[in-house]
């Protein structure tokens, strides 16, 4: 049995074993976040590697098989809620080849983090994610273009019924990265640094009793709904939460 498993491991394409998606080198640059950080909006993003598309069910299954403590029937409930990988028919099998190519969802931050660590990688930071997500197919920062904003908003306003499309179908953006919008929401390493008040009416008002120091972040660019919604969603999550539309991709520091 063990021999068979070992043999299978060799048969699997190297890309699957190594975490699947190709890596894109994202050049560094200065970037103004749509979030009003109390210590300044502009930041220098260091160059980093980012997975070209979100992690798929097939890739996550390979991880679960080599790290059985992350099977849904074995994972400590500390690290994942009851919906963890609930869309798989069993804890170690996918429904079909269509599901294999879809981005994995119903994963907690702990599980996503463990997956990336197992590839010698990490989750991207929010700033890195926002930096890459600002691009369209031709420009690295398309955020001021109303047409671009409309397009993204169109995705958010579509009901999330029906099966997910495959990962990696959309045209790459100016960085060469796919599916930053229009497919799934994505975990970031520091999702829990987004101390945004749950109530939009008090934007900018620090809830001093809850948030030490200068208080909650607020949005300085209220027209950027795409970012606003991502931040609102991430800031409402606990690290063990999972949802049917939340996946992830990994990032790596350059050597």
């Amino acid at each position: 049995m063990r021999v068979l498993a070992a043999a299978l491991l060799f048969v699997l394409p190297a890309a699957v074993v190594a975490g699947g998606a190709a890596w894109v080198k994202v050049p560094g640059g200065s970037f103004r976040s749509a979030l009003k950080y109390e210590d300044g909006r502009a930041a220098r993003i260091a160059p980093f590697d980012l997975q070209k598309r979100p992690v798929t069910n097939a890739e996550f299954l390979a991880f679960v098989q080599s790290h059985p403590q992350w099977r849904r029937d074995r994972v400590p409930t500390l690290f994942a809620d009851a919906r963890y990988l609930a869309h798989w028919p069993t804890s170690t099998r996918l429904a079909d080849s269509a599901q294999a190519a879809q981005p994995v969802v119903n994963v907690s931050w702990f599980a996503a983090n463990a997956f990336c660590e197992a590839q010698g990688a990490r989750l991207p930071t929010w700033r890195e994610w926002e930096y890459v997500a600002a691009a369209d197919e031709t420009r690295r920062d398309a955020r001021n273009d109303p047409a671009w904003r409309e397009r993204i908003l169109g995705w958010y306003s579509r009901p999330a019924s029906g099966p997910l499309p495959r990962a990696g179908l959309q045209t790459p953006d100016a960085f060469g990265v796919q599916d930053m919008h229009g497919l799934v929401w994505e975990w970031t390493d520091d999702f829990s640094s987004l101390l945004v008040s749950g109530d939009n009416r008090v934007q900018g008002d620090a809830e001093k009793t809850k948030f030490c120091g200068a208080g909650a972040l607020s949005m300085s660019d209220r027209d950027n709904y795409a970012v606003l919604m991502r931040v609102a969603m991430l800031s409402s999550l606990q690290a063990r939460d999972t949802t049917t539309s939340l996946g992830f991709r990994c990032a790596k520091n350059l050597p």
Binding site: E38, D39, P76, F110, K210, C212
Partner: protein, 197 residues
């Protein structure tokens, strides 16, 4: 094939028992509950410069909070909260409770800085002030439900909470009311958890 002798079995069992009980990470033999925070391995270095895994505190209820030593505003209040919990207990109850303050700033919170706070605030030796490895901060914060962000000047914005762990590391109570005025419901839970089973 010769059947195994009872003597051999007994020796093997004794050895196994010895291994299990002497493993520092698992002082109790019963399996860890799946919702225990001790499912997360977490090496900590305390104010005495000693490194131990927080799972070595299994067996004793703990009040846990996150903080950092250079914090001016909220973190002194977190120490106040821990003291307020102690004041709400009898001497005997206090002896059964551990208090762990875990730093979110391991780069700066070396043992000397941690000891500085312990001395300045005259903390009972039952308090552990300790730093995790830098890569573990996000995970322990995730387990305890603490949100934080480091600012450019090195300070942190963070939510504050006292978390009560039972003997097996399950979270049984939590309060975001910090300061010298204790949360009565939280104190009641602490008293319940240190009461003899």
């Amino acid at each position: 094939m010769k059947p195994l002798s009872i003597q051999w079995l007994r020796t093997a069992l004794a050895c196994l028992l010895l291994v299990v009980t002497s493993a520092p990470a698992a002082p109790a033999a019963a399996p860890l509950p799946r919702d225990s925070v001790y499912q997360l391995p977490l090496p900590l270095t305390d104010q005495h410069g000693k490194t131990w895994d927080w799972r070595s505190h299994r067996g004793q209820p703990q009040v846990v909070a996150m903080f950092y030593t250079s914090c001016q505003y909220m973190c002194p209040l977190i120490v106040d909260s821990g003291k307020a919990v102690e004041h709400g207990l009898t001497q005997a109850e206090r002896a059964k409770l551990g208090i762990m303050l875990i730093s979110m700033d391991p780069k700066r919170d070396r043992p000397a800085a941690l000891m500085g706070i312990a001395t300045k605030r005259k903390l009972d030796p039952r308090w552990s002030l300790a730093s995790p490895r830098a890569n573990d901060v996000r995970a322990v914060a995730g387990v305890l439900g603490v949100r934080y962000r480091q600012l450019a000047n090195g300070d942190f914005n963070h939510t504050s909470a006292l978390v009560l762990l039972d003997r097996d590391g399950r979270i049984v109570a939590r309060t975001e009311q910090v300061g010298s005025v204790p949360d009565p419901a939280f104190i009641a839970e602490v008293r319940r958890s240190v009461a003899d089973p």
